[in-house]
């Protein structure tokens, strides 16, 4: 589904990613862990197509297509979703208007008719239940005045609305209490199918108790220094990142 081959990327002339290779197959969950500043968000943003990051070497294929040739909105319509570490506020733009536009862009890409207002609202009600998000939030402007936790929950709500093939969750767990964490995990697990995949970027292994990964990769200083099964997360938790730093 997703092949990242020897990916190098830099921002403002500074190399952040220094040769990353990951292979994600349909149905899989990959966790990417690593200390602050190791390049996790950079990787997530490069996959989503943020223009600020320059890919200097390597390739990314998504369902056989060269991802690097696609603009961010095209990648999104092809089924790549990024749950932002720091979701952006867009004052005055209602969640309804924003999501309706997004959903209908996805439909247009698939050659489907746009949803009518009432069809859309029905879909929204359905998905709101999945992530237990209140109308108080969805009736507001995009992320405006949301608490950190509310923003994260709103990201998962949008993911549920857009039903991506590949979801990248960038520290969606940070700032969440245990209840919210469980709901986010429920959202991810409900969406899980043999046809889609998830990349979970996280700092702590806590989330991985709810979203069980098939693979854990440790990113350090722009490189994957270790890849293994889910037990690696536990080991990291016990030994701390210094263990990795010392080894690499």
């Amino acid at each position: 589904m997703l092949q990242i081959k020897n990916l190098h990327a830099s921002v403002d002339g500074k190399e952040i990613l220094k040769g990353i290779s990951i292979d994600v197959k349909p149905g899989e969950i990959h966790a990417i862990m690593g200390p602050n500043g190791s390049g996790k968000s950079t990787l997530a943003n490069v996959l989503a197509g943020h223009e600020k990051y320059e890919v200097t070497e390597g390739e990314i294929f998504f369902e056989g297509e060269n991802l690097l040739e696609l603009a961010a909105e095209e990648r999104a319509r092809n089924g790549i979703f990024l749950s932002f570490q720091y979701p952006i506020e867009i004052p005055g733009v209602s969640m309804v208007n924003f999501l309706k536009t997004a959903v209908n862009e996805h439909r247009k890409h698939k050659g489907l008719e746009p949803l009518t207002a009432s069809q859309f609202l029905k879909l929204m009600e359905e998905k709101k239940k999945v992530v237990e998000i209140s109308s108080q939030l969805t009736n507001r402007s995009v992320n405006e005045g949301f608490s950190g936790g509310e923003k994260k929950r709103n990201e998962i709500f949008q993911m549920a609305m857009l039903e991506p093939k590949l979801a990248i969750l960038d520290e969606t767990d940070s700032g969440l209490d245990i209840d919210a964490l469980r709901i986010v995990a429920k959202g991810v697990n409900t969406l899980k199918s043999p046809h889609n995949a998830t990349i979970v970027v996280t700092h702590y292994q806590r989330l991985l108790e709810y979203i069980v990964p098939d693979y854990v990769h440790v990113l350090y200083n722009g490189k994957i220094v270790k890849s293994a099964g889910k037990e690696l997360a536990l080991e990291l938790e016990k030994k701390g990142y210094d263990w990795i730093k010392n080894e690499s």
């Binding site: 600020k52 909105e73 867009i90 004052p91 005055g92 536009t101 997004a102 862009e105």
Partner: protein, 481 residues
């Protein structure tokens, strides 16, 4: 250039969509301005002596006045002798139905998305379409007449309701008010007149579409709205103009008079030709709009969405004479490419317990300059006057400018005046967030800009709000590279 600026750069280079010229025989007089021309205009319109006198007084005053230079605008000097001051589409007789209207004229309206035929059927909107200087067709008149509402062209009002016109003309905007108002008072060709009788709530939005057409014709419209005691009216004005190379001068005057407990809402969507990407051509829009809340508890509310014109010089104002009266100003002004706008309002508090609210949203793109200029004045007898002003600026890219000039003159210690101002930029991250949800950059910018302007757009009547939203988006659109 950063990536964001590159995007904004291409996005903001959209060509004007309504650039076309209609070929209609015009009845025009020679270029130039002198006392004879003023007399000729008045004669062509078969006006009464008092109106000719009004024009002549205004003309003589204008000769003594100087073009204002205090605005943050670069105004090329205007050759007033190179302008045609009267032009009317040739019409042989009074028209009884739309079938008799010049098909080409109707076609122009259609290109603009104003199908007059359909307008007739559209519930709740009466249209007084002004093509150049003479009203071509007035609809819904009968429905309005049943309630005693007068809504007609200014010339017709002069003929049919001379006493009303004479009583209120120049009340809100005296002929000597400013350079452009004096010019308008001397040479105004036509416009709209509206009178809402005592106790009547106008059941529909009154709507006027203005259009500048004949080449080299200065457009001098005059609108007079009088709301008698306990009446209410919502009035819409919208305009587009064909593309051409010579700059065109437009100096309209709008006067509103609200009597005891009367309320007038005046909404404008202005989309005149702004000039091309290099700043060539475009309309000069020097408008004087003022309302007087003459009665106690009366209210006048201006809402404007300004996206067009090469130069905009416009300050819809409220004079709150009556006690407990209210003035409001909601504005979105968008400038792109080489456009310049210096716009804002004056809120003059004279009565006691008067209130005013100013919400101004400037949007600048390209290499344009966008200024807010507002005056809040509290007279000594205006006890407990209140004003709240919110002036926001949004910048797209880093080559444009936003400026805020708030002035306060307060002569009463019990007044409470508050002012808030912000300046922000559309961030690359906001656009990326939209992109990541599958929304393209043009749509994202349109969405963000509309979100920013929402507080003002919400004040527009529904169908106008939709049009205005599209307009904001179109004004910023282009080919995204």
């Amino acid at each position: 250039m950063t990536e964001q600026d590159k995007i904004l750069d291409t996005v903001t280079k959209q060509e004007y969509k309504y650039g076309f010229v209609t070929d209609i025989e015009s009845d025009t007089i020679e270029k130039g301005l002198n006392e004879e021309v003023v007399r000729l205009i008045s004669a062509k319109k078969q006006e009464p002596q008092w109106l000719l006198d009004f024009r002549l007084k205004a003309y003589r005053k204008w000769l003594e006045m100087k073009s204002p230079n205090w605005a943050y605008l670069k105004i090329p000097s205007i050759d007033f002798q190179d302008i045609i001051y009267y032009s009317a589409p040739k019409q042989k007789k009074q028209l009884n139905s739309l079938d008799e209207v010049d098909p080409e004229l109707l076609e122009t309206f259609n290109k603009l998305g104003i199908p007059l035929e359909e307008q007739k059927h559209l519930a709740g909107v009466a249209v007084d379409a002004v093509m150049d200087s003479v009203s071509v067709k007035t609809t819904f008149k009968e429905t309005l007449a049943e309630r005693g509402i007068i809504f007609c062209s200014f010339s017709e009002a002069v003929r049919e309701y001379p006493d009303l016109v004479k009583k209120y003309l120049g009340n809100a905007v005296p002929y000597a008010d400013n350079y452009f108002a004096a010019l308008n008072s001397a040479v105004f060709s036509d416009g709209s007149f509206c009178y809402i009788p005592k106790g009547v709530r106008c059941p529909m939005e009154l709507s006027t579409y203005f259009r500048i057409n004949a080449a080299n014709t200065g457009q001098f419209e005059r609108t007079l709205i009088v709301a008698d005691d306990d009446s209410y009216v919502s009035y819409l004005e919208g305009c587009t103009a064909p593309q051409r190379d010579e700059n065109q001068l437009h100096a309209a005057v709008v006067e509103i008079i609200a009597l005891e407990r009367a309320e007038v809402k005046y909404s404008t969507v202005q989309n005149w030709y702004p000039g091309d990407k290099n700043g060539k051509g475009g309309i000069y829009n020097f408008v004087t709009k003022r309302g007087i809340c003459r009665g106690d508890f009366s209210k006048i509310s201006w809402t404007q969405v300004e996206t067009g014109s090469a130069i905009t010089w416009k300050y819809p104002s409220c004079v709150m004479l009556g006690d407990h009266s209210t003035g409001e100003f909601y504005s979105v002004a968008l400038t792109n490419n080489h456009q310049q706008a210096d716009t804002g309002t004056k809120m003059i508090h004279i009565g006691k317990n008067t209130r005013s609210l100013i919400v101004s949203k400037g949007i600048s793109a390209g290499v344009s300059n966008n200024s807010y200029r507002g005056l809040v004045k509290v007279a000594s007898r205006a006890d407990k006057a209140r004003n709240f002003s919110q002036c926001d600026s949004l910048l797209l890219g880093d080559k444009c400018g936003a400026h805020t000039f708030p002035y306060i003159e307060c002569s009463n210690k019990t007044a409470i005046l508050e002012h808030e101002a912000t300046t922000s930029k559309i961030s690359e991250d906001q656009i990326f967030y939209c992109n990541q949800r599958g929304i393209g950059t043009e749509d994202a910018i349109g969405m963000i800009v509309n979100g920013y302007a929402r507080e003002v757009l919400n004040k527009l009547p529904m169908e106008f709000a939709v049009e205005a939203q599209k307009l904001l988006q179109i004004s910023l659109e282009g080919s995204v590279g």
